[in-house]
């Protein structure tokens, strides 16, 4: 492949949306209320829409006979480049919203920078996605505040979720080889520069929600390099089942 770094870079961005979209999609018909169920699956659909734009572009870069569906459905676990945060399970609604919030704050800042990419396709996709993601961030921040500054029980659950997921936040700012190459070419976003503003914003919302910002400095990493938590395999089994069981099926 002529531009493997760009290809891997696009997959790195898209896989976050793909895996998070699949996680949220699991809530279809299982949301805590009809309204939140629809809201979560709406966000899921937004994310899948973004994934399609990225993967369609990736197929052009790859220049072989792979389709967007092949890229989404037929890779092995180690070939997915999403961060560990987005593959974490929907343990309860506090976890679902905490995961969303911790990702959305990053996602919004990331897209704001990606809009400035010298790659016109990526900057156009970022430009289109950022409106959706602004809404996601508002939605998840609101729920952090509602549950954090809610009842004793909701506060305890939300604090537990934030504490539990905190260990996955630092990985958002790690750079892969593809990241570094793309930053050097002016195509990619230098995520290391987003880190301080990210933690400042997250702490601000947590404080407003009367929640504690975790102090732990021990962080998990590996997703961007394909080393995932045990949860991803199960998610992929569900995501890929139809294509694996009935190859090339269409409907």
């Amino acid at each position: 492949m002529k531009n493997e770094n760009l290809y891997n870079y696009i997959l790195g961005i898209a896989d976050n949306s793909l895996i998070l979209g699949q996680r949220l999609g699991e809530l279809t018909g299982h949301g805590p209320s009809l309204e939140t169920d629809i809201a979560c699956t709406n966000i899921s659909l937004d994310l899948f829409g973004q994934v399609r734009s990225y993967f369609q572009y990736a197929t052009k870069i790859a220049g072989d006979d792979r389709t967007e569906d092949d890229i989404a459905m037929l890779r092995k676990e180690r070939e997915y480049k999403n961060v560990l945060l987005v593959e974490q399970p929907n343990t309860n609604f506090a976890y679902t919203m905490a995961r969303q919030f911790l990702f959305d704050v990053y996602h919004l800042a990331f897209l704001a920078e990606l809009q400035k990419s010298t790659d016109l396709t990526l900057s156009a996709i970022a430009n289109k996605c950022i409106k959706e993601v602004s809404y996601h961030e508002r939605f998840s921040s609101d729920w952090i505040k509602r549950l954090g500054d809610g009842t004793e029980e909701s506060k305890a659950k939300m604090q537990e979720a934030i504490d539990g997921l905190w260990t996955y936040t630092d990985e958002l700012f790690h750079q892969t080889e593809a990241d570094k190459a793309m930053v050097a070419e002016g195509i990619g976003v230098d995520v290391t520069k987003l880190k301080d503003a990210y933690y400042a914003r997250v702490s601000e919302i947590l404080e407003e929600s009367t929640l504690e910002t975790p102090e732990s400095k021990w962080f998990q990493k590996g997703g961007k390099e394909g080393i995932h938590t045990e949860h991803l395999g199960y998610l992929l089994a569900e995501l890929q089942y139809m294509q694996r069981a009935y190859p090339n099926m269409e409907w």
């Binding site: 009809l34 309204e35 629809i38 709406n42 509602r146 909701s154």
Partner: protein, 96 residues
């Protein structure tokens, strides 16, 4: 918050485009007005049905009693002259 029974019911009005009126399109549950607006956005405008949303607590709506429909509405039935039906409307006039 964990007790969904405590979430009040809201009525949702959506304006489909500028210049038209808001129309009632349904109801939903939400803890407060901000959540009601967000829920309304997700439940009723996700296929770009609207440019503006109003929400109002259902309990704040005063409704007529169906038992009184006779005295409320029937007297109008035989007064066709109250309708502006004797004018020819040009085709260009929409939404009448």
């Amino acid at each position: 918050m964990s007790d969904k029974k405590n979430w009040p019911l809201w009525e949702v009005f959506v304006r489909s485009k500028n210049g038209l009126e808001h129309r009632h399109c349904g109801s939903l549950h939400a803890a407060d007005e901000d959540m009601a607006l967000e829920n309304a956005r997700d439940v009723y405008t996700r296929r770009s049905e609207g440019v503006s949303i109003w929400v109002v607590k259902s309990k704040n709506i005063t409704a007529s009693n169906p038992e009184n429909n006779g005295e409320m509405f029937e007297p109008a039935h035989d007064k066709v002259y109250r309708h502006p039906t004797f004018y020819d409307l040009p085709d260009e006039v929409k939404h009448m």
